[in-house]
Symmetry: C2
Subunit: 541 residues, 2 copies
């Protein structure tokens, strides 16, 4: 059976940038564009040149991609020709192989927002698309508010898109701009469009998630004959976001009927990289990854219920609709009050611990974990702390070092020149075997690129002289920390999760809990150091 | 036109508790149950008594509700009668008006996970439901893995649910347990079930979001004839979560065809409380609210694009599919590089500032905001800091006080008894008019319920003696802080957002940015104090 071609169009860099709190730098856009291209996306909408300084810069130095790089803009305004519209000219000047212009296809918007006649609007569409086609580029028309427009005035809306089609547009993209259309309406209206003479091969769909139907509407549109899907990574976008390509792509490649019916241009083996691509975006934007995101979320394959966990151990397909490895994810059996020993044994096995199922230390470890979680600890993400705790309860190893005390001072004052400066200094004393080593670290605020914080000062003091272990910890770096106030029994406590990295590229998470944020951070730091010492085979003196 | 009754069944307290990282206390369950009842939910699934200590406690003291309180459990095991199954007995002993039992309806699970014959399984279902009905309670049967089961062995699956129906179950709930079914399959299979003799009036739907279709599948099921929807608040649940009632309920009440066709039992005016209910759950679980959640998310009605913002100002329905006020939400025009002055003017107007559109301070304020955002500040959520900045640029008011310096020391050491303690002390010096006031605050770790952290010590020192302003700030409390490492130009900086509350119930957010977390926290604290002074009419000395 020959598969039909289904095209994927990513607008993370343009519509995604309209998300509250999101602002890409030019270099970040380049990184994302390259990653999208590596996945196998057909179209990359890079931005709106002229409207946004970073967008113009991006197109000036756009990376070479196999995908069709596309510049976004809007149809020419009334009262001037397409060639004389300066806003359109800036879009054309980006020199991309494709240009996508948004234009009004809802009569209410033409009369209220633009204040022109319906005929003028259709002429604006026709002339703009013709202008692109005449310049030898591929033309796409984003029919704004298409479904609302069709419900309000089907004749005008069809005329609007017909104008673009007749002018030579390769794609007419039907946009559910307000996100308020439901799947059955999407199917019915697309059926009417195809019946009116615009073939599905030239139709695209662009949805928003305001009713939680962005993904469903996109697939419903494909069911109805549309052959291009527009969306963003991680469902980024205005208000509730665009259609989530991170969710749609695995469904197209792994689930029937799409798997057998369509060729998305994305090779099956590339699908494994989709989780990393999702995280890359989160990392660039410094956004907390959505734990429960379909396919790529940290919890997407996390089986908590005791019943589920035991069934999974017998046969994963009992509770998983797809194999997590296909999307670069993995199965998790987290710790919780509902977890029995089977969960724990599984997690230990995954971490490389070889434990006798009858080992009496196992119930002790489970109790220790539950007791700590009740106090505010969370071992779901702090995998390195989990491993250290397991090691401690199971093997009671000799500690590498013991912290005797620490003190950290943070101060804001004026320096000799009268300038306001912030400084931190830390003193840490540890016992290594029978030796007591005290280290001091001070950031005096002179080097503006040095992190002047107390946690960093502690981290630097701790790592300044760890005696025989020094060479092992020298390339460690604190790269992120997250702080939450949470419940630890009867009072609120602070939970700190620290991410560390070393030059081998390893990244590990550790947790600390205390009413005192510095204390919690310090404990997480100690765990981070100890984990690296274990991993790199240090021997306790 | 008479509306058909559509029943809503909430399983936040049971299936929602299977979310990674979620654990309800008994009192938290009670709060949520009462709130669900106030909204008008028909069924509240309180938990699995006997399987979970907090669940048993909850049912022992279940709040009085108009909703049908329901206990969850599983069908009896093979080899014993329903009356002699101790697990089932614990569920019955909760004494609820309704009992919902999950049972296998997928042949693969019966043979692989349970290891019994298909006939034994059907008998387990029949006998368990009969047992509930005989005790005078309402019986519900959760047909686990129903859709996969139907695809695998339609005869067995139909027999399984028919057994429950014939035994007197009020509801047969078709569960997409793995979350892998798509909307068209849901419709087709439900059509077959109804054709086989189980009426839609007795059918329920229970979906999961593993392909992003939980909401779409639920509504597709209703379209196909089902009359009960099971879901959770905020889409809580195992893996990718259950069907999100916070998304479904507004759609049922506000969007056609559901609005005209169905009566959900939720009065229209109650819908306004749905956003608060969503936040209540996030607050109880100490989860970051999903900004982009449909209807209730902070960004759900946030219009960032300059084009959208100007159109909205002319007529909100241009870019909103429903009026945000109907769901207790509000329109936001956030600051960003794409915002023009229209966005800023709108936000100032919303905050109560009366500014002349031609005021030259407006472009200065916009530049100040953009420059600070480039340095790492975020004014999207730190509304109080935004208002203070606006006040400063627009009116250059005399400051209430000036910080001269601060110093905070955090220490972990042993006390006189040899116990390890963590202590923090802070000294803060401020100028109030011509007076310099220095305050000291020390937490010596003796009172284990006192927050021993450095940020709290600073906060207490700052608030110890603010001279003429003391009475105004006395009831202020630091209730939450969030820390992120983010980009501030060329280097990483720490952004701290602090939430404060006072006895009037007001809650406000302020932001601070620095490479030093204490410094960033301190700046956010200063803003928090200043905001309260402004709000409560303090006069600068």
């Amino acid at each position: 059976m020959t598969k039909e071609r289904l095209y994927l169009y990513d607008t993370t860099l343009r519509d995604g940038q309209q998300t509250q709190g999101v602002q890409f730098s030019t270099s970040e856009k380049q990184r994302i564009a390259v990653a999208l291209d590596e996945l196998g996306i057909d179209y990359i909408e890079g931005g709106w040149p002229g409207a946004n300084p970073t967008d113009s810069d991006f197109f000036d130095a756009a990376p070479k991609v196999r995908a069709t790089m596309t510049a976004f803009g809007m149809t020419k305004r009334a009262g001037r020709s397409a060639a004389n519209d300066d806003v359109l000219a800036a879009v054309m000047n980006a020199g991309t192989p494709a240009v996508c212009l948004v234009g009004k296809s809802h009569d209410f918007h033409v009369t209220t927002a633009l204040g022109i006649t319906l005929d003028e609007n259709i002429e604006n569409i026709r002339a703009s698309i013709e202008h692109i086609v005449a310049s030898g580029r591929e033309a796409l028309f984003d029919a704004e508010h298409f479904f609302d427009g069709y419900k309000s005035n089907p004749e005008f809306t069809l005329n609007a898109i017909r104008a673009a089609y007749d002018a030579g547009a390769r794609w007419i993209v039907l946009c559910d701009t307000n996100g308020g259309t439901l799947p059955q309406e999407v199917k019915d209206i697309i059926g009417a469009v195809i019946a009116a003479g615009i073939p599905g091969s030239h139709l695209g769909i662009h949805t928003h998630d305001d009713t939680g139907h962005a993904v469903a509407n996109s697939l419903a549109a494909v069911d109805a004959g549309v052959r291009q899907i527009q969306g963003t990574l991680n469902g980024l976008g205005e208000r509730c976001g665009n259609a989530n390509l991170t969710t749609i792509i695995p469904t197209l490649l792994l689930k029937e009927p799409y798997k057998s019916a369509y060729d998305t241009g994305i090779p099956a083996e590339k699908l494994e990289s989709i989780r990393k691509l999702s995280r890359l975006l989160d990392e660039i934007l410094n956004r907390v990854p959505a734990k429960q995101a379909p396919y790529v979320g940290a919890s997407a394959f996390a089986h908590k219920a005791g019943l589920h966990a035991s069934a999974i151990l017998k046969d994963p397909s009992t509770y998983e609709h797809v194999d997590p490895a296909l999307v670069g994810n993995s199965r998790i059996i987290p710790m919780s009050n509902q977890a029995g020993q089977s969960n724990l044994r599984r997690r230990l096995a995954d971490a490389g611990f070889d434990v006798d199922p009858k080992d009496p230390a196992l119930p002790r470890l489970l109790d220790e974990i539950k007791e700590r979680e009740a106090r505010g600890f969370s071992y779901d993400t702090a995998q390195a702390s989990f491993e250290l705790l397991a090691r401690e309860v199971l093997y009671t190893p000799r500690p590498f070092f013991d912290v005797d005390r620490y003190r950290v001072i943070t101060e804001r004052r004026r320096n000799a020149k009268g300038e306001v400066i912030s400084v931190s200094e830390a003193v840490v004393s540890v016992w290594i075997g029978t030796q007591r080593v005290t280290s001091f670290y001070e950031n005096d605020g002179a080097d503006q690129f040095e992190d002047a914080g107390p946690v960093n000062a502690l981290s630097k003091a701790l790592a300044k002289d760890l005696g025989p272990y020094q060479s092992i910890i020298e390339d460690m770096e604190l790269v992120d920390f997250k702080v939450r106030i949470t419940n630890g029994g009867t009072e609120a406590v602070t939970r700190v999760i620290i991410d560390s990295e070393d030059t081998s590229g390893r990244r590990w998470s550790t947790v600390g809990v205390s009413a005192n944020i510095i204390d919690a951070s310090f404990d997480a730091l100690i765990d981070a150091v100890n984990w690296k010492l274990v991993q790199d085979g240090a021997v306790a003196v």
